[in-house]
Symmetry: C2
């Protein structure tokens, strides 16, 4: 690791990685061992590595997989769930895995609802982001999780920071942080891997033998975030450590009050008329408007949904 001036063997690399995660959890006051943590797992390296590390550190960490109905040529969603199931059986057998299958629950896949909605201008990413945030928040609230943890790494955070900076999105800049506090029915959100380079989480998954989905979501290819990642990789090649410095010095300036943050990032939330989840919109929340939900759908039955998808995945011999 050139920017840390460290060269480690596989065993000590894993140790360094786990200890570094623990330090980040403490430094940013993310959660304690008494709290229930819900890890959003996609089947990729970052989220599976996160679930693994939290389990090894003795945290009370369950998984949440959201089936998006994105298949493409590689049966992306089904393949993802198969990897997660295999991971859980081996690495986190005592933990729960919640599965919310979007087409089973809401009647359409993400590509279908994106086509039916005005969001996203032909790309399903905006509809997908809205749906994932909604499902995560709602499940965390309904199942009593104190904290929602995602596997965002430094490359992800730096790309978002670059995007917000290039447009001087002052509201987003004032809020971007490793921890977003709970409030008004929304779970606390944390990013324990925010200081790891993507290649570091990949190396950890490799030394732990985690079998993850290598492919990106087929809809993410060529998106703007990847463009910013390419720019930042050039910067990193020119001066190693620059990406970490960009993010960490931003957090430093932010914590010193350099940015004039709005009084409350989650001001004026009220309950959605249809589903009861917190929203800033009058009437129905953005999710219920997009999905055209007028009354609370039946509660998710994890086991039924899980069985249905498992049967489908097994039928596909994944």
């Amino acid at each position: 690791m050139r920017h840390h001036k460290l060269a480690l063997c596989a065993e000590h690399y894993g140790e360094w990685f786990v200890n570094s995660t623990q330090r980040a959890i403490e430094k940013y006051k993310m959660f304690t061992r008494g709290e229930r943590v819900l890890v959003a797992v996609s089947g990729g390296k970052d989220s599976l590595a996160l679930w693994d590390v939290l389990t090894r550190l003795g945290y009370n960490a369950d998984g949440l997989y959201i089936g998006l109905g994105i298949q493409g040529e590689i049966a992306y969603s089904d393949q993802s769930l198969a990897r997660i199931r295999a991971f859980q059986a081996q690495m986190a057998p005592d933990a729960a895995l919640h599965v919310v299958d979007v087409p089973e629950t809401y009647g359409k896949t993400i590509p279908q609802i994106a086509r039916a909605s005005s969001r996203g201008h032909g790309k399903p990413c905006s509809a997908c982001g809205l749906t994932k945030r909604y499902v995560m928040n709602r499940l965390a609230a309904e199942r009593g999780y104190a904290v929602l943890a995602t596997g965002h790494n430094l490359d992800d955070e730096a790309a978002v920071l670059m995007q917000n900076t290039l447009h001087w999105q002052t509201g987003y800049l004032a809020r971007q942080a490793p921890v977003l506090e709970a409030g008004d029915g929304l779970a606390k959100k944390v990013k324990p891997f925010c200081r790891f380079y993507e290649r570091e989480t990949a190396a950890y998954a490799m030394v732990r033998g985690i079998d993850y989905v290598y492919d990106e979501c087929p809809h993410a290819v060529g998106n703007l975030t990847n463009f910013y990642k390419t720019l930042l990789n050039q910067l990193e090649a020119q001066s190693p450590g620059a990406k970490l410095q960009f993010y960490v010095q931003f957090l430093q300036a932010r914590s010193e009050g350099f940015f004039d943050a709005p009084p409350s990032a989650r001001a004026d939330l009220r309950a959605c008329e249809a589903c009861g989840q917190p929203t800033t919109a009058p009437g129905r929340c953005a999710f219920c408007r997009m999905w055209d939900i007028t009354a609370l759908p039946a509660a998710e039955r994890d086991e039924d949904v899980f069985d249905a998808i498992t049967a489908r995945a097994e039928a596909a011999e994944l």
Copy 2:
């Protein structure tokens, strides 16, 4: 001009460019027709175009050329002065041109003082910047100019902004603006071209038939600013107008008080013990320490220096 959705002939392009400069001068309250303006001219397209536009707009604009003793294979400094003289004779015959020749006045060329000093780690750019800022401020103060104008264009400003942002240099970010107000003996500094793309100032110089030095300073090749310009050019190619947006939205966020600016950017200035110019250092200013000046050198005699360099430039048949 793709980002403005404008296509203009040469004549109307010049008109658009001049009128846009006038709007920037008014918008940022840079100077009025009653004030004496000193334009720092290097012999490049931006500074000569600036002197030309201010002259056409009827401002009271004189030139300042600082001879740095940077020659290289193309006799860079001598060639620059020759271009400036030719420009002045044709385009600004009623204006004064001040020439401060650094080796004549201070005894060493910029490459020589950079080698003799600890600044810059082998590159003369830091010593050069310090020297130019000093000479500009001092001449403006001694000759009674209210305002110092430089030809920095949008590409320059966006690259500096990118550099300051990537390192979250909060002090620099809070100060970066088209206008730096006068104070404590330092002249007001303005950048009337800060919203023009480099290609726009080049196009203006071309349609006006201004003969400028095409080559960059030989020491600037491969520097970090050029690296940031390359990154920003990729961004601009991906989404036209992004560079302008990055800079203008920064100014907008700044003017809305998003950045917590330090109370005064020029706090605690005192007179240098050697030269009497304003400095934040105790004792001698950074310039006098670098040049090892212990008492005020003889006042510059523009005409003598000018004659000496002119003779040298003519001898070199430039």
